[in-house]
Symmetry: C2
Subunit: 371 residues, 2 copies
Amino acid sequence: MLIEAADVEALALGGAFLATGGGGDTLIGELSTTAALERYGPVPLIDAAALADDALVVAVGASGSPTIMQEKPGNGQEARWALAALERHLGRSVDALIAFEAGGMNALLPIYAAAERRLPVLDADGMGRAFPELQMESFSIYGISATPLAAAVERGDLMLLDRISSSAVAEQLVRQYSVVAGGGQCVSAEHPMTGAQAREVSILGTISLCRDIGRLLLHHGNRIDAFVDDLTRLLAATHYGEVRPLYRGKVTDVSRQVRDGYDFAEVRLAAFGRSGATPDLLLEVKNEYLTAMLGDQPLALTPDLICVLDNETGRPITAETIRYGQRVTAIGIGAPALMRTPRALEVVAPGNFGFAQAYVPIEQLPKNSQL
Amino acid sequence: MLIEAADVEALALGGAFLATGGGGDTLIGELSTTAALERYGPVPLIDAAALADDALVVAVGASGSPTIMQEKPGNGQEARWALAALERHLGRSVDALIAFEAGGMNALLPIYAAAERRLPVLDADGMGRAFPELQMESFSIYGISATPLAAAVERGDLMLLDRISSSAVAEQLVRQYSVVAGGGQCVSAEHPMTGAQAREVSILGTISLCRDIGRLLLHHGNRIDAFVDDLTRLLAATHYGEVRPLYRGKVTDVSRQVRDGYDFAEVRLAAFGRSGATPDLLLEVKNEYLTAMLGDQPLALTPDLICVLDNETGRPITAETIRYGQRVTAIGIGAPALMRTPRALEVVAPGNFGFAQAYVPIEQLPKNSQL
């Protein structure tokens, strides 16, 4: 399948949805990716099954605070610089790019970078959503080293992590680099792997899924119930779990801060027409919406997806832009199977973000009886 | 001149003196450098004038908290790993090593690393003393890029800073790397430069000076006045400034903490036989002794050197080991000319360490009238 400029709007919209509140604003990525596809032509989106066993696959994506990325976008050359530095270090050319997360601008960035380089992009990613840290990529979870990793920032500085034994340490180094050298953002080329490895450790089909979810969102506009019905059908055939509306209500409080290169926030929703019957919903954020708590009762917990749509427009709302007074619908989705294994839960469960709850799959949690 | 195993004791002692309290404990460096010279043979110590214009010179040294380095030494392979990574990146072999600071273990580390590689070491360094940060090296001050820079830690992790436009940013990245990946220490190979450049931007003669100062210390033992007299004569022919005793007294208070990969401390001395006539001396530390204040009156200020000797043994006392009750003599030395230029004072003056005093050369400060 070829990705053309005409696909980018849907891709960006679906990417914003799967970003679960993180992944950064997609507008700049949408404009720049559209321009790149118009200039260089369509980019092949290939199945992992089509990769040669010994192909060199590299994950690319931007790291940093989504708030900062929105306020001060990069210069558009960072991915090219990072790829070139990694290729120089490896002594060979990359054969295909893969998104490290199929969320927000990072669902688009590999396509943007691939266009100029005439490379194919895998229809797959490393999270099946967005997560804030590198060691949460399925590549790391299933044994691929994050390094060698090259990271570039807007003013041209380049860091190469040659060999870092722990992906969590690599994450800290990239994060510090993004803060110290990049003013809060950088683009990495990382987790170099073979085609054979990519097939084993990736969340498959997620880029075309972004596009399809985006098409559903464009088609249904603010008819969110109809969107959820179609999304349920779309995901039923995939490795994702159950789709379930979690809450409808008004944003009554948002407290947020940018700290250590991340966005932290707590978002409180009050149900419509409440008579004290429905407790508030609390969404806890580290770049992404990570837990949805109805009082003491979790409705959805990381790694399951929590997506928030604006009831007026039907558009996804990112955690860095959600604001008082917005009327929203929160939707939960069971994470892809690869992100729910015991091995994955060692790094993406609520406890990994400092939350007390043990992970319970959304299918085993009570539903919000007020919906 | 050849450096032999028999030279190492004096080198280590003189290096500890020029370290102005920092540079880390020299015992481990002394033992490992002696062993390396015995195993691989003497290392040529060459004048910068003898270098080919296009020789590749690389600075090596350890970064981190001296306290941590003493508690948990490296494994002895970090310098080799860092050099190999840098050479691989540059695509050529190094022709000579240079110390980034002629202080403490970092006066010895290039010799240790050169022995196994059969490389010469320049009789020069980048500070003429020790300082806590990379951008304070004369190489950076006079326009050599710190990058490409390779840094290795004890467990084998390797970082390569390919191109970082600011040495202060490179310093922060190396420091973070030492903390996050190395538990507080790492060894860097950095500031690659040509022989022609090394001649212009280095503090010359400082390694043989370490050895000579060490020989004086060994010769005089605890006869500190006699040592100071000889040191004055030794330095009179160099680019260093005036040698001046600052204070004799007892350590009455030390407050210290390890923070952000540095040792911070304040050391208070009370004069002997005081009758209220002589105020306490306050030494302020960031890895090194940076200011010596007699009440409100500075007696010596960075970049001038403040060296502390133990009155009992005549040995230098590092800032991380100085302790209550020690009887000591503080000695001030005017910094080498290259570290006193307006360009150097932009990065090594008291204000660069958060102190309020403007730099005044030691020669222009009042002497301690009680000595």
